[in-house]
């Protein structure tokens, strides 16, 4: 009897959280799905005829969409490559014994707390500006002509900015994993005559593999939705060279008022994110002893 009572109490305690999330997820998603089958623009919201997969075929044949899809993948993969490899190296460095380790940790983690619009504008103007930017001035002092980052290599510029924001996250998580590696194991390998490289390759890296997977999956979720960094730097341009799906969908809806096409784009983004989410949920579920 008591357990029955506790059970219903527990259910009542969980209900608000479950209900609001269910509504938040299901209702708008269903509406997006519905809108994506309509010829629906904000300029003529009275007449919204059903056009089936029309928006999808329009979207999938639109060169801007294909460019945005490619840019989204390049952005995610580029940032992941830099942050994971960089994160492993920085974590290995911070795991060493040196003077001021706590202060250096604070310096390394700091970029993660910088809001996206600040990070993007500081990099665009004060680092990457071809005339006044620090990078341009450094390069020209050794005789290399400055690069107009935002015009000539817009996507790379955004990759660099976003990687700078996420490197601390990767480092912090990989460092946490490194610190749980027992010294005994490394010492035993050293006794057996293993070099530093083979210790890294056969002991440290496998130990970190789970943390690396977590970093990749969680970052991918966030990186698929990069928006502010593009908005305040290149606005997706020049042309559509730095437009990703998130930016394209927001633009379709707010600038062009094409609700139908934007919704189709949103559904494509949901499918992309789900592919990643399935792996992540499984991985975390395995680790959960509830």
């Amino acid at each position: 009897m008591a357990t029955l009572h506790t059970k219903s109490a527990a259910r009542a305690m969980m209900a608000p959280a479950v209900i609001v999330l269910l509504v938040w997820m299901a209702v708008p998603l269903a509406m997006t799905l519905y809108f994506s089958t309509l010829n629906y623009t904000l300029y003529n919201p009275i007449s919204t005829p059903f056009i089936g997969f029309g928006n999808y075929t329009y979207f999938l044949n639109d060169p801007t969409f294909l460019a945005a899809l490619a840019n989204t993948l390049i952005l995610v993969i580029g940032v992941l490559a830099i942050t994971v490899i960089g994160g492993i190296l920085v974590a290995l460095l911070l795991d060493q014994d040196f003077y001021g380790v706590n202060i250096v940790r604070l310096l390394v983690i700091a970029p993660f707390f910088v809001m996206p619009t600040v990070a993007a504008l500081v990099w665009k103007n004060m680092m990457m500006n071809p005339v006044y930017g620090v990078i341009g001035q450094l390069l020209s002092s050794v005789g290399i002509p400055p690069v107009d980052w935002m015009t000539n290599v817009p996507l790379l510029s955004i990759i660099i900015i976003v990687a700078w924001q996420w490197l601390p996250f990767a480092t912090l998580i990989l460092l946490t994993a490194l610190q749980s590696l027992s010294e005994d194991q490394k010492e035993a390998a050293e006794m057996d005559g293993a070099g530093a490289l083979s210790i890294f390759w056969y002991i440290t890296l496998p130990h970190m593999s789970r943390a690396i997977t977590v970093v990749i999956l969680i970052q991918t979720i966030f990186l698929l939705s990069i928006y502010a960094e593009i908005l305040v730097t290149t606005q997706g341009g020049p042309g559509s060279q730095s437009t990703n799906i998130t930016y394209l969908v927001a633009q379709q809806a707010t600038s062009y008022g094409d609700i139908g096409a934007a919704s189709a784009g949103g559904i494509v983004a949901v499918i992309l994110a789900n592919i990643v989410a399935i792996f992540l949920v499984r991985l975390i579920g395995k680790n959960l002893d509830a």
Partner: protein
Amino acid sequence: MARRVTTQKKIVTTILAWFVGLLIFFPILWTFLTSFKTELQAISIPPVFLNFDWTLENYETIQSQSNYFHFMLNSIYLSLGSTALGLIVAIPAAWAMAFSPTKRTKDVLLWMLSTKMLPAVGVYIPIYLLFVRFGLLDSRLGLIVVLFLINLPIIVWMLYTYFKEIPGEILEAARMDGASLGKEITQVLAPMAVPGIASTILLNVILSWNEAFWSLNLTTSNAAPLTQFIASFSSPQGNFYAKLSAASMLAIAPILIVGWFSQKQLVRGLTFGAVK
């Protein structure tokens, strides 16, 4: 001899680590320095590092000319409001899942996590249209509700992992001693739950403060937080590096300090307990 090698190695590591640390930190350091320069010094060629006339005029201009405090207050309202709402809904849920788990608890937790993975653009359009329809566009209340919903899964998860660590036997012992439910909660459980709740608040304030997609798309001026205020610097008129720097420092300083204090909780919260 062996000892000397280790000291040498330690010095080399120290130099390398500080170099890497300062390199990563450099954009923030540079923004900090530039915020104390005049606009002319901010764009001088070659750049000045420390040898300039330090001035506070940019901070004064930011505060007097651009309604900085309006945006700052909005950021505070939005992050604290969404966090408070999140705690009210999440504490009972996490509590129930941690202390009376059923067969379905794990599925519910994972399902909540999966809602966090829904990309914003998947739900943005209906939300935007609903906001237009009900006049919620550029209102604090509307954005508070959205921020509450996007962060709720993280709050539930984080609280759950903390509550799980509270030993259930203590509860039983208290019950044996005849403690009432009220006493059980206020005198036994609350003190043990406070650190976890505090960490959750910190992480959620950081996430809400820096949230950009919804804040930029659902606000224009009235409810706009600092993210939107900084974005207004993206189309500059004339010399503005020093003012941009001052505004940036004002926008990131509070959260940078909060963040430095909550590094460990950050790992836990953002990995959903998968890495501790």
